[in-house]
């Protein structure tokens, strides 16, 4: 075990993945420190899943290299696989087997020592609160229970890095927050690095560090706090009787570019509280309500990519369809 292997759980160097003419991942570089929760944030189709698939040896990089838990993802595939746990976006459980049988199958495939299988299975199932349901067929589980079982299964062989690809997608808000409480628990209590992808801005807040990815590239990488601070602007939202006129007026009189978001005139400005009196004095239009908020990761994304994550997704959908067609050919 080298010194770098213990310091960083994941090291990525100029990683590229091309599918024919489409470049899904375009030369990314980053390090994930041992023991941190590292988040990949970006719209669908940004290349997050392709990256995660390369890191967990499912997809071969076109060029560049990556090491996970100290092992190269191309030349030491088995070593990498033995040291990682995976929870995919879509379920990979066998619905016709019981929860217990699914876990046992995993233990056998990963060569967990026979005497350790039973106690370890109880541990991980207790942890996600499914021990009582161990004899039930997985097909009878709800989406949240399946996801919890997959997390338990991902931990069964004590991986050093746990990959979670969109761990909460398609779950109701309550279940989402319970999944996050498990992830936080895990980080606090096990010697494990967690690498996850998400396109929910609010979830990215749970990460120690996040990398914003857009169109195959990492735009920026830092802690959520540092990213928000880097924008230096607060978000102001106002409601008026004529939003169109208000946007024009803000542009002309205050020299600020505003836009309509969630039915409100929205713009960013430094030291928002001090700006509000000026706004009332100079807008020349009645304002019905005003709110000032600290920048969110939405604003961070907006500021670094020039688009909202939702707009980016609709744009990426076309690209995705194109890629899907090629892959299914």
């Amino acid at each position: 075990m080298t010194a770098t292997a213990t310091a960083s759980a994941v090291t990525v160097d100029r990683l590229v993945k091309r599918y024919d003419e489409v470049e899904a991942v375009r030369g990314i570089e980053f390090d994930v420190r041992s023991g941190e929760i590292f988040g990949f944030l970006g719209p669908n189709g940004a290349g997050k899943s392709t990256t995660i698939n390369m890191l967990c040896t499912l997809v071969r990089p076109s060029s560049g290299s990556a090491r996970v838990a100290g092992h190269d993802v191309v030349t030491e595939r088995d070593e990498v696989r033995r040291n990682i746990g995976l929870v995919f976006q879509d379920t990979t459980l066998d619905g016709y087997l019981t929860a217990e049988q699914n876990l046992r199958l995993h233990a056998e495939l990963y060569g967990v020592p026979r005497e350790a299988v039973a106690p370890r299975m109880e541990q991980v199932m207790e942890m996600v609160g499914l021990w009582e349901r161990r004899r039930s067929l997985v097909n009878t589980f709800s989406g949240g229970m399946k996801r919890r079982l997959e997390i338990a299964r991902g931990l069964l062989h004590s991986p050093r890095v746990l990959f979670l690809d969109e761990p909460t997608v398609g779950l109701d808000p309550q279940t989402r927050s319970s999944i996050w409480s498990y992830i936080s628990e895990l980080k606090a209590r096990e010697d494990i690095t967690i690498f996850l992808t998400t396109h929910y801005m609010d979830e990215a807040e749970y990460c120690d560090r996040i990398a914003i990815m857009d169109r195959g590239k990492i735009i920026v990488l830092d802690t959520p706090e540092a990213l928000k601070a880097s924008i230096g602007k607060d978000r102001i939202q106002i409601q008026t009787d004529d939003n169109g006129a208000a946007i024009t007026a803000i542009g002309e009189r205050l020299g600020i570019e505003a836009r309509l978001a969630d039915g409100m005139v929205t713009f960013g400005v430094a030291e928002g509280e001090h700006f509000v009196p000026r706004l009332f004095a100079e807008l020349g239009q009645p304002i019905r309500s005003v709110s000032v908020s600290r920048p969110s990761l939405d604003d961070v994304f907006m500021s670094y990519t020039g688009t909202t994550i939702r707009d980016a997704e609709s744009g990426a959908a076309d690209q995705r369809r194109k890629t899907a067609r090629m892959l299914n050919r």
């Binding site: 967990c56 088995d78 990979t92 990963y110 060569g111 004590s158 895990l186 209590r189």
Partner: protein
């Protein structure tokens, strides 16, 4: 059963020991060895068995077609064919083919589950495991062979109904050939499943392969004195080499006139040479191994 959608509220707190640490004693996963590959083969094989035992409907539906051929076609046509069978019951004649057919359908469905596995994502769980792809494919083929063999046993139990004696040597030899055939058909299906990702396409392809194989195999007619084109197709049909030895075994245990034996069980010939049963079984096994090899290569390449 309707599963609850909201589960957040009922979650118990994670288990902890006295000092507040989560009790997750790490397990050490040893490096790959022959033993770990054998464990992988075994668990994939076992999964096949568990799934088969859960699916009673599949057990029944796979028997449907063999039974139609044996009882409906066999009984109905026997009145037409009685002149040509030299006193042998037509059901007895088609029985070897039906023994093979029962195995083929089940083996095919076993291989088809690979396509489902891909569609429902489970294949990924197996593909990222730190084991050789060949172990996964081999486990799958052995599993398919086992459940298909079980299905074969059900039809084998009907021997008495079609006047075939329950002789131990007959049962063992026939069962061995059934297992071999089941393995080969599963390997064939796995080879196809490696390339075909849609269930409809897979099923259509399998139907296209299985039905001609059955009709050309000599399950329903003696293999001597055929028109040239049919003889040729018959000789290149792998199933021929499973049906022919089974028929020879079945007939050898029965009191049948020499004329009847000559007419109904002439045996497969290559350019006039009688192919021995062991070689026929060898042909089936060899084909199975070749297709297994192709399947392994394809799955090893897949990302």
């Amino acid at each position: 059963m309707a599963a609850p959608t909201k589960i957040g509220a009922e979650l118990p707190p994670p288990a902890r020991s006295g000092d507040g640490r989560l009790e997750l004693a790490g397990v050490r996963v040893p490096t790959r060895s022959t033993g770990s590959e054998l464990r992988a083969i075994k668990v994939v094989w076992k999964r096949e068995l568990i799934r088969f035992s859960r699916d009673r409907l599949r057990i029944l539906t796979s028997l449907m077609q063999p039974f139609l051929f044996l009882f409906v076609l066999g009984t109905g046509l026997s009145r037409l064919a009685s002149a040509g069978t030299h006193g042998v019951n037509l059901k007895t004649f088609v029985y070897p083919g039906v023994l093979c057919m029962a195995v083929m359908f089940t083996a095919m469905f076993s291989a088809a589950s690979l396509v489902w596995d891909r569609e429902f994502g489970f294949l990924r769980e197996m593909m990222v495991a730190p084991v050789r792809r060949s172990s996964l494919v081999l486990g799958k083929c052995l599993g398919g062979a086992t459940v298909a063999g079980f299905q074969g046993v059900i039809v084998l139990c009907l021997a008495g109904v079609v006047n075939v004696p329950y002789a131990p040597s007959l049962i063992i030899e026939v069962f061995a050939i059934q297992l071999l055939l089941a393995f080969t058909i599963t390997a064939f299906g796995v080879m196809i499943a490696a390339r075909v990702s849609q269930m409809q396409s897979f099923m259509a392809l399998m139907q296209m392969a299985i039905m001609p194989m059955f009709f050309l195999s000599g399950s329903l007619f003696p293999v001597a004195g055929l028109p040239r084109w049919l003889e040729l197709l018959n000789r290149i049909d792998p199933l021929t080499y499973a049906v022919d030895p089974i028929r020879r075994i079945v007939f050898s245990h029965m009191e049948i006139s020499a004329a009847a034996r000559q007419a109904l069980d002439p045996g497969v010939t290559w350019w006039g040479w009688h192919v021995p049963g062991a070689l026929e079984a060898g042909v089936v096994a060899l084909l199975g191994l070749i297709m297994l090899g192709i399947g392994i290569v394809q799955f090893s390449r897949a990302e």
